[in-house]
Amino acid sequence: MVQTHTNIKSAPEPVVDLQGITRRFGKRTVLDGIALRVGRGEIFGLLGPSGSGKTTLIKLITGIDKADEGEVVMLGEKMPKLSMLQRFGYMAQSDALYQELTAKENLLFFASLFGLSGARRKERIQAAMSVVDLLDHLNKPVAAYSGGMKRRLSLAISLLHEPELLILDEPTVGIDPVLRQSIWKELTALRDRGTTIILTTHVMDEADKCDRIGLIRDGRLHAVDSPQGLKDRSGADSIEEAFIVLGGGVRA
């Protein structure tokens, strides 16, 4: 078996620091001894097949859920902690939007929950919606949105309060290639301005765009490295091959 490498790329103080995270549902261990550090200003991708535990890990990082063992430290604070919910932006795997309301009403609602009001709130709504290219559809009810538009609106909501950390669970699922590219461009731009981004994906070629990737399978983190580093280590040409080599071989 391949050893787990925890490659700390940058910053002495990590944005997210996980130690010995174990999460069980009943008798099933869904996450098993995960250790991981995410540094400031990087795009970190959690790559793994569906059911590998990505969403569970994301929920532990956000503090929505609590680990059975181990410790989550975000921005120097032990999680879960209520005040920390103000410090990151979160996009859930499923679009949690109020269908009968317009996009604007959804945005107003979440902006208010993050303490935004008045002119500042208006300004942030405009800014977030222009990032995801939905400004023309601000007053449409969400029920009339396509799947991709809903995904983008969810992303816009996570950007509203300009968080220093973005946690995105499968942000590009159901989005067409052109838009996917433009979203990635935005994510890189955000990163360049200092935002740390943690995202999950099960699309291999998307992983290439991350600064570092963690390969997760069956609740274990099998390898953590830059895309090039993973390819070099496994002697593979693509992330997909690297995943098969490093991630414990072909699924039984």
Binding site: T62, G63, I64, D65, K66, P80, K81, L82, S83, L85, Q86, Y90, A92, S94, D95, A96, L97, Y98, Q99, E100, L101, E105, L108, F109, F110, S112, L113, F114, G115, S117
Partner: protein, 339 residues
């Protein structure tokens, strides 16, 4: 601030949802109107067949109280009874008056007995007592008597259902999780729901009370403000109970399953039915039923003109229920978010 944002959102969602609005505001009015017509209609007027009754006696049967038809012999009369044309046969057997009742409808039996007894007793010399009423009057119908309970019940029932379903939907569509990934406190979530729904329940309570009293002419001897206060308290209890129980439901259908468990028993203990015949042990069950307190106060206010002092206990008990359920809601939300 977050509470207000949540309340505002609930209100805008509600306003968009025309069907639910109609259910909340029109359905109670419809059912109350039906009840009004069923229980406020003309008095039942039995059909009585007489056989061989002397004319002076038949003449004394109150023509407003019954339709009287005279038959030549018993067989004919009994056949008419069997055919459903008559409710009773009144005859003389061996010089003594005898009554044969159709028997399947107790209220009809009573009506027949009342009319006939009056006509028989008129033979004897009796002193008619002077009748007066402490509460109500001789025109008080059964609708007047249980109308106050119905007002409370409808407020309770529809709000319970809607709040339960709304909160459940918030959970099953994932928006609750999304909501809890913001810095909102669990208590703010509960307060937001109370505030948002509270506005509609207040409107609903006022509408139901106004409609019953001014349109349907329900007997009203007390203060409308106390009626509204009680109705509001009842709906608050329904709201907090509905959202609390929705934490234990996985689907809309499971919310419906709570109706026979939570709502129907309350109806039995709400005063619609007289509990005095019930085992005293079972009667005590009414103390844990919010609707019992609401109905007790509503009746007191509307029928007996009771003031705040008289219903004080009911007010505090319902407030207590609401606060307790709301706190339990805050605790139950822990299931969704650890903090």
């Amino acid at each position: 601030m977050r509470t207000r944002a949540l309340a505002t959102r609930i209100i805008s969602q509600f306003v968009r949802d025309k069907r639910t609005l109609a259910l909340l505001f029109l359905a109670p009015l419809l059912v109350l109107t039906l009840m009004h017509f069923v229980f406020n209609g003309q008095q039942v007027k039995p059909d009585i067949g007489t056989v061989g009754i002397p004319a002076p006696m038949t003449d004394r049967i109150d023509p407003d109280g019954a339709h009287v038809t005279s038959y030549a012999n018993r067989e004919e009369a009994e056949q008419a009874l069997r055919d459903g044309k008559l409710d009773a046969v009144f005859s003389l057997e061996g010089g003594k008056p005898s009554i044969l009742l159709e028997g399947s409808d107790p209220s009809m039996n009573k009506a027949v007995m009342l009319v006939l007894q009056k006509s028989i007793q008129a033979d004897m010399l009796t002193i008619q007592p002077a009748v007066s009423y402490l509460h109500g009057n001789e025109d008080l119908s059964s609708f007047d008597s249980f109308g106050p309970v119905l007002i409370g019940f409808f407020s309770f029932f529809f709000v319970f259902l809607l709040a339960g379903v709304a909160f459940l939907r918030e959970r099953t569509t994932g928006t609750l999780e999304r909501l809890l990934a913001t810095p909102i406190r669990r208590s703010e979530v509960v307060a937001g729901y109370l505030l948002g729904f509270g506005l509609f329940t207040l409107l609903q309570a006022s509408l139901i009370a106004w409609f019953s009293i001014d349109v349907l002419g329900l007997y009203m001897d007390g203060s409308i403000w106390l009626v509204l206060l009680m109705n509001l308290l009842l709906t608050l209890t329904a709201l907090t109970l509905g959202t609390l129980l929705s934490s234990f439901a996985g689907s809309e259908f499971q919310i419906i399953q709570f109706i026979p468990l939570v709502i129907v028993p309350q109806v039995f203990f709400s005063g619609l039915f007289n509990l005095e015949a019930m085992d005293p042990w079972l009667q005590k069950l009414s103390y844990i039923m919010p609707l019992y307190y609401g109905a007790d106060a509503m009746r007191g206010i509307m029928l007996r003109g009771e003031g705040f002092d008289d219903i004080e206990t009911d007010v505090y008990v319902l407030l207590g229920f609401s606060v307790a359920f709301a706190l339990l809601n805050v605790v139950a939300l822990r299931k969704q978010r650890a903090i």
